[in-house]
Amino acid sequence: MSCSRMESKILGYVDGRLKEGERLEMEKHLSTCGACQLRVNEFRSVHALLDELPMIEPSAAFDLRVRARVAAEPAKQSWWAWFTPSPRVAFAASMLLLATVWVGRYSMSDPPQIDQADIPVLENYDVISSFEPLTELSQAEPADNADQQSQDM
């Protein structure tokens, strides 16, 4: 094993994570390479030095804070809950429905009244066709169209 190949395995050797075959191969190399042996010893020292950092304890309020945040989470609803309206929405919808029905019935009970005397006149085509204001209206229409065309040009 060359020194460059050692690099990827040196830490595994120091912390004892190499497979048996790799460990034996490493030891064979170390027995003939002073530089790598020195590197292994130094890495062992670094590894041991890192143990000197003490652990800290989470504060007494840590668990309480996590639980409070978890409790504040909105409950997840299933897809079926989509069909179940909230009481406020249900109340508003029923009020709207009631109002619609009431307005509908009120307007149905008082339809526009037509004077019975007007009905024979409305049914008589001759009377309507000779009604003067209507004949003026049909004559004025082509003139209006001509004005519009001249403006477009």
Partner: protein, 199 residues
């Protein structure tokens, strides 16, 4: 027999809040310590650890035990920590324009409660305190991904496969990352390393 992490998480998924409390109890200390060593601020570390647990809780409905629970947990924690470190770096850059930081307010966090009782020799205690500061600062100076790799490898004792999934890299890339990190630490801590070699 204690239930496994995966079983606890599946119980949380089924609506058992007590199982979540057990997971919280099991991982609160390792998570807070990992995050503290990443961000170097105790309050921030606790905030981030709370966020990790909250994300685990929120994801309970979709939880599928496809990987080890610790891989998932520390992946969330690492991503949060890396984002936080990057945000802090920008904040520090802004602050340093006006007011250079002169004191390390966090150095006192790891002091033991009863120093006199544990260290009758005050000189030895001071030496150990200086050593701890050197080690902390050496870790702090590592690039954040190397720092995360060292912390997960050394303190959480996760295997290479897990750490490479957490850091989203190949195992060979991880080994190279760890080697470079240890090389940097070896140089930074050279006086302490030499001292150990003499012992």
């Amino acid at each position: 027999m204690a239930r496994s992490d995966v079983q606890l998480m599946l119980d949380v998924k089924a609506g058992d809040e007590q199982s979540f409390a057990l997971l919280l109890h099991r991982y609160r200390r390792p998570l807070v310590n990992f995050l503290y060593r990443m961000v170097r601020n105790r309050e921030q570390a606790e905030d981030l650890a709370q966020e990790v647990f909250l994300r685990v809780y929120r994801a309970r409905e979709d939880y599928v035990p496809s990987a080890k629970f610790t891989t998932w947990l520390f992946r969330i924690a690492t991503n949060l920590a890396l984002n936080s470190v990057r945000d802090n770096r920008y904040q520090r850059m802004e602050i340093s324009l006006d007011a250079p930081v002169t004191a390390d307010a966090e150095d006192g966090d790891e002091k033991t409660l009863d120093v006199a009782e544990k260290h009758p020799n005050i000189e030895q205690h001071l030496v150990e305190d200086v050593q701890r500061k050197m080690i902390r600062h050496a870790i702090e100076k590592l690039p954040e991904k190397q720092r995360a790799a060292v912390l997960l490898h050394k303190y959480q004792e996760l295997d290479y496969g897990e750490i490479s999934k957490i850091l989203d890299c190949s195992e060979s890339a991880l080994k190279s990352l760890l080697f470079r990190a240890y090389e940097t630490l070896r140089v930074e801590l050279a006086p302490l390393v030499a001292q150990r070699a003499r012992q």
